[in-house]
């Protein structure tokens, strides 16, 4: 298979909860939201890696760690052979030029007081992408690339629709000519019809610019549509990774199965009244012992309580973290 661009090795991230005075006096230990609990992943050059999971499972945290918006509390991230976990200053800037991020919220991810031109110019200036004289031409080029109408450059974000704003976000990321794009819920806030436009653009750009894309989303249909490989996260861990087709057709982890089952199908004839998964995500502050999914898992047994399952191979390029290695479970 192709070469690894980014590799995530046992990454951990905690968000400490501030302790009060009395708690400190009483010697209450420091507690934390355990957002990432040892995530390991590889991103291959040129692929689209989809990351799915329920709200709060750590998708955004992982995405932010990937572009070094957050400092790691454990593990490391290796970019083309160099450990980038501790980069600062100019090194970090150089890394960021090559690994860029696009954000979820089309409304808050653009500075409302800067025109598109200012936004793009600033990024290019800071990274010394082009001599000043060439910047205006490059901006036209970029806008054309993301299919924004000519004359958009001097408008400010509020003059655009949500879909157009996401394109500006993409243009901003692309203007520094990165190799890897980390897209956190790129289209979740958009209407279906507009969603399709942006997804199409992303697919097209990826082909043309040979981009590597990490696509974080919770819309399973969408992830399936655009990803080469998909990783499923649950409570700060990756529980299953496989080629997209393989994962959706033959999910091996009970959580993945529940997730797929819960997604409404587009066929009115295929209705069921059975609930896919009972209960809710446990608190990321007090994690369950053993397998993190056991509290909601219909198949949990004693071992799940005491032992945390590791990611183990289930066929080519397919790994899952479950003690039971049955091919497919009966849906409950």
């Amino acid at each position: 298979m192709s070469e690894t661009v980014l590799s995530v090795e046992d990454v951990r991230k905690d968000f400490p909860i501030t302790r009060g005075v009395l708690e400190r006096l009483r010697g209450r230990p420091q507690r934390a939201v355990h957002a990432l609990n040892g995530v390991s992943l590889e991103v291959k050059r040129g692929e689209t890696l989809g990351i799915v999971g329920e709200s709060g499972c750590g998708k955004s945290t992982l995405a932010r760690c990937l572009v070094r918006l957050l400092d790691l509390d454990g593990g490391r991230i290796v970019h083309e052979g160099t450990d980038v976990s501790g980069l600062t200053g100019p090194d970090r800037r150089a890394f960021n030029r090559r690994v860029q991020m696009i954000f979820q919220d089309p409304y808050s991810s653009l500075n409302p007081r800067m025109s598109v031109r200012q936004i793009l110019t600033e990024a290019m200036r800071v990274h010394d992408m082009r001599p000043a004289a060439e910047i205006p031409a490059r901006i036209e080029e970029l806008l054309d690339l993301v299919r924004l109408p000519a004359g958009s450059a001097d408008k400010r974000p509020h003059e655009f629709s949500g879909g157009q704003r996401q394109r500006i976000g993409i243009a901003r990321a692309l203007c520094v000519e990165p190799e890897v794009l980390v897209a956190d819920e790129l289209v979740s806030a958009l209407d279906v019809s507009v969603q399709a436009q942006v997804v199409n653009l992303l697919l097209e750009l990826q082909e043309r610019l040979h981009l590597t894309v990490v696509f974080v989303a919770h819309d399973l249909r969408l992830v399936r549509h655009i990803s080469h490989r998909v990783a499923v996260m649950y409570l700060g861990k990756v529980v299953e990774v496989a080629e997209a087709e393989e994962l959706f057709e033959r999910p091996r982890h009970p959580y993945t199965q529940a997730l797929l089952h819960a997604a409404p199908s587009l066929d009115p004839a295929q209705r069921t009244r059975a609930v896919a998964a009972r209960g809710e995500l446990p608190s990321p502050i007090d994690l369950p012992s053993g397998c993190l999914f056991r509290t909601r898992c219909p198949h949990a047994f004693d071992r799940c309580v005491v032992e945390e399952p590791a990611l183990t191979p289930r066929g080519t390029g397919h790994v899952a973290a479950c003690h039971i290695d049955a091919p497919v479970f009966e849906a409950s």
Binding site: G20, V21, L22, E23, L25
Partner: protein, 310 residues
């Protein structure tokens, strides 16, 4: 909740130390010394020196600071230089008056601000709103002493509804005497609160939970008070707490105009009289009182808004 209080109390310590130092330094920086301030123009140099020596002002600054800090730790704030009675007694006499005045002003401000804010918010951009806001604008633009004198002239001297200044002897008398000054003091606060509350109500008016409450078919009154007012008050309350501090310290002019023997006037008299022990003792006591007010409003806010304390 105890956690919350504990945190606030711990936070109070650096604040008080800071204030202690600032007050001490500020007081020493004031030109002129207590003796000549008290003795006036006619005193002979020898007398001035003698009295400053008696007050311990010839000692080095660090020693004076230590004496000052020690006085706080022991709770004995010394004697007033000009009035020659214990500062603690002075504070005990004067501070409650100012606190009562402030409290009344705060209550009046709320009583004025809340209904008017409702009217203004519900009739937004229409005549009642414009009138209310315009009226408050005028109130907000008038110097306190002028408002005070106008109120005194109209309601005191002309209509004779209220006594012209003074403080009275019994508690009901205090309330009666303090009414006009409290109104004077309350006017600008109520303008500020009204503005803030109006904005908050407008914001809350379209909140989802208000629509949801309306969809339940509840009475309008219930929606106004239970759902809208309470939420709108939360943000206003923080402002209210802060303003009480400002009021407490800002009562100087009102107290002068209305001849109320409060802490504000004492403070200014003491600054002018270079009455170091009083200035120091009173400032720090005021700071403590203000901090307690903040704490109380915070608690009130926590009670109104369960999200604050976890």
């Amino acid at each position: 909740m105890p956690e919350f209080i504990a945190r606030r109390l711990v936070q109070l310590i650096p604040t008080l130390i800071f204030i202690l130092v600032v007050v001490f330094v500020l007081v020493r920086l004031l030109p002129g010394d207590p003796a000549s301030a008290v003795l006036g123009d006619r005193a002979l140099d020898a007398d001035v020196e003698r009295i400053n020596r008696e007050l311990g002002l010839d000692r080095s600054i660090p020693v004076q600071f230590w004496v000052f800090v020690k006085s706080f730790l022991t709770g004995d704030l010394g004697n007033s230089i000009s009035l020659r009675i214990p500062v603690t007694q002075l504070i005990a006499d004067r501070l409650p008056i100012t606190m009562l005045l402030t409290l009344m002003a705060a209550a009046i401000a709320l009583i004025i601000a809340i209904p008017l804010a409702f009217v203004a918010a519900l009739r937004r951009e229409r005549l009642p709103d414009t009138l209310i806001r315009g009226g408050f604008q005028v109130g907000l633009s008038m110097p306190v002493f002028y408002i005070g004198l106008v109120l005194l002239t109209v309601f005191g001297a002309n209509l004779r509804w209220f006594p012209v200044g003074g403080y009275g002897d019994t508690f009901p008398e205090h309330l009666y005497h303090l009414f006009l000054p409290a109104v004077t003091l309350a006017l600008s606060l109520s303008a500020i609160l009204m503005r803030n509350l109006r904005a908050a109500i407008i914001e809350v008016l379209d909140a989802d939970y208000v629509t949801f409450a309306r969809s339940k078919g509840l009475r309008t009154r219930l929606i106004l008070f239970r759902h809208i007012l309470r939420n709108a008050l939360i943000s206003t309350l923080a402002l209210f707490g802060l303003s009480i501090g400002t009021l407490l310290g800002g009562a100087v002019i009102t107290e002068t105009v209305f001849a109320i023997p409060g802490a504000g006037r004492l403070m200014v008299d003491s600054i002018y009289g270079r009455d170091y022990p009083v200035v120091q003792g009173l400032t720090v006591t005021l700071a403590v009182v203000v901090s307690i007010t903040f704490l109380l409003t915070d608690l009130l806010q926590a009670w109104l808004d369960p999200r604050v304390t976890k």
